[in-house]
């Protein structure tokens, strides 16, 4: 197998050549510390501003509302922990959902250990948060609502505009983890009443190790990393100049291509969903059929365990994931799949295929052909399938 079909773009993406090219001069030529006074340092201050500006523009935000971090996880931790601390006099209640990324969920658990109270909203069978339940959980002590823009496993896009409006109406801060949604769907922080938003560059063909937190002017969030005066004294550490340049370049690129790219992805996504549904029995599409990231396909196959499916796909040159890459160290099935109501054994048989602009229809035809065989093979070895067949004879 020489051909590689990479269908795990929700886990991470290839850094675009254009992005790498933009970064390179900042390693060996204009490598100076932006806090310095001399040319090769100070010039990097403007370089950072320029890239901050590109990112802010893509969200309808102001330049100085974008704060660079080391990635999505740091941004999520910062948003939750520092807000909790800054507003604890106002209240100790936070609302989030059961299908958030672990960066949110584990930060919430940490905050619970510090005396905060957290409501984890249920989602329906498509992974959508119930607006009425959200409204009902608001208390006088609620200081923060954190709901992800789109889910990393099943691709479901939340009703962010409505959630933002509710938060706004109740004067509660609204944070959204947009790590999967940013540059995949149009986002405007004002229109959606978003006060804070997390993003990570490596999900949009940017480099790993750089992310940002958007913080609306006026939000009194404290520093999470204390030290030097970087990022308007809110996030210490010598700026990752190549990373920031790569990020800005990746965002400019993603915004430029968004409309065409996502239109094509939606078409391919739906083609893939249709072929799998038609050709592989005993499967279930996970996530909402239309309120869905353009590049996300997620299926559960009954009587099939995920890892052996992945290894078999890998042997055919197909890169995919089962649940979230970040949680693959664990043996438990994904909390997201359990939250949409899948029984454990079905959750174990889930497969996530996330497209990129490079994927073609031919690639997907190959994938479906291989997948059909693999699922059949695994089922032929499965005692669960054996029992099922015997019962239905």
């Amino acid at each position: 197998m020489n051909k590689l079909i990479y269908l795990d773009n929700a886990a991470t993406t290839k850094t675009a050549q254009e992005v790498v090219d933009a970064m390179l001069p900042y390693y060996t030529e204009q490598f100076g510390n932006p806090s310095s006074i001399y040319g090769i340092g100070a010039a990097n201050k403007d370089v950072i501003t320029k890239n901050r500006d590109i990112i802010a523009g893509s969200l309808g935000a102001k330049t100085n509302e974008i704060y660079f971090t080391a990635g999505g996880s740091e941004a999520d931790n910062w948003a939750l922990k520092a807000t909790a601390e800054a507003y604890e006099k106002k209240g100790n209640h936070i609302i989030t959902s059961k299908i958030e990324h672990h960066a949110i969920l584990h930060s919430c658990q940490y905050l619970e250990s510090k005396g905060f109270e957290v409501t984890y909203l249920d989602v329906d069978e498509n992974g959508v948060v119930d607006i009425e339940e959200l409204k009902a959980s608001i208390r006088p002590t609620t200081i923060l609502i954190s709901i992800m823009f789109a889910n990393n496993e099943i691709g479901t896009i939340q009703p962010i505009k409505e959630i933002g409006a509710i938060a706004h109406e109740h004067e509660i801060l609204f944070h959204t983890d947009a790590v999967q949604a940013f540059a995949q769907v149009p986002i405007n922080v004002d229109e959606y009443h978003i006060d804070m938003l997390s993003s990570s560059a490596h999900k949009l063909n940017g480099p790993k190790g750089i992310g940002f937190l958007y913080i609306r002017t006026g939000v009194k969030i404290r520093s999470f990393v204390h030290g030097g005066a970087q990022e308007r004294k809110r996030r210490a550490g010598t700026e990752n100049v190549p990373g920031i340049v790569g990020y800005g370049t990746a965002v400019a690129r993603a915004m430029r291509t968004m409309e065409k790219r996502t239109a094509k992805e939606v078409e391919l996504r739906d083609y893939l969903i249709e072929r799998i549904e038609n050709e592989i029995p005993y499967c279930r599409l996970n996530g909402h059929r239309t309120l869905r990231l353009p590049n996300n396909v997620n299926f559960s196959f009954q009587f099939v365990e995920g890892e052996s499916m992945l290894i078999n796909l890998d042997l055919k040159g197909i890169c995919a994931s089962s649940g979230s890459a970040c949680t693959s160290g664990s043996l438990d099935p994904s909390h997201v799949l359990l939250a949409i109501g899948l029984p454990h054994e079905i959750a174990h048989g889930s497969l996530r295929l996330t497209l990129s602009e490079e994927i073609t229809k031919e690639d997907l035809d190959y994938v479906v052909d291989q997948l059909k065989e693999i699922v059949a093979l695994i089922r032929s070895m499965s005692p669960l399938y054996e029992d099922f067949l015997k019962k239905n004879k």
């Binding site: 658990q109 890892e307 454990h344």
Partner: protein, 146 residues
């Protein structure tokens, strides 16, 4: 993450299938944890395992350990088959990642369960064989996360 041996047994699993009217059948694990193994034994009148088949729902390691375990017990008499421990299976596979050690325990347990079934059906007692748990708890090593 897997050794070549594990990959070989995953890609070309030995002894997959069922045995009609098997002398003993054992099923262990549970779908909740993502692993179920079923072992069929065909045991002759001298208590020698003439044939052995398996069906497994589980990860790469689960399939490879099932395959290796069946290979190891085939041709042995039941007393020797009892000596096929999870360690023996792991060694034969050149090792498993720490998070997958439970798969080898499951394989050992599945053989024991099949032998137990055989013993019950034939109303004999096998020296050293205890009634198998049908749920193998997973002793995951866990770090002190916050």
């Amino acid at each position: 993450m897997y050794t070549e041996k594990v990959m070989d047994h995953f890609q070309h699993p030995r002894n997959v299938g069922e045995i009609e009217n098997a002398s003993g059948v054992g099923t262990v694990g549970n779908a909740k944890c993502g692993d179920i193994m079923r072992i069929y034994l065909d045991i002759d009148e001298n208590q020698v395992i003439r044939d052995c088949k398996f069906k497994t729902f589980g990860c790469g390691a689960a399939i490879a350990t099932s395959s290796m375990a069946t290979e190891l017990v085939k041709g042995k008499n039941i007393q020797d088959a009892l000596e096929v421990t999870n360690k023996a299976v792991m060694e034969a596979l050149d090792g498993l990642p720490p998070v997958k050690v439970h798969c080898s325990l499951l394989a050992e347990e599945a053989i024991h369960a099949a032998l137990w079934d055989y013993a019950e059906k034939h109303d004999i007692k096998i020296e050293g064989l205890e009634k198998p748990k049908n749920d193998i708890s997973e002793d995951e090593e866990d770090e002190d996360e916050y």
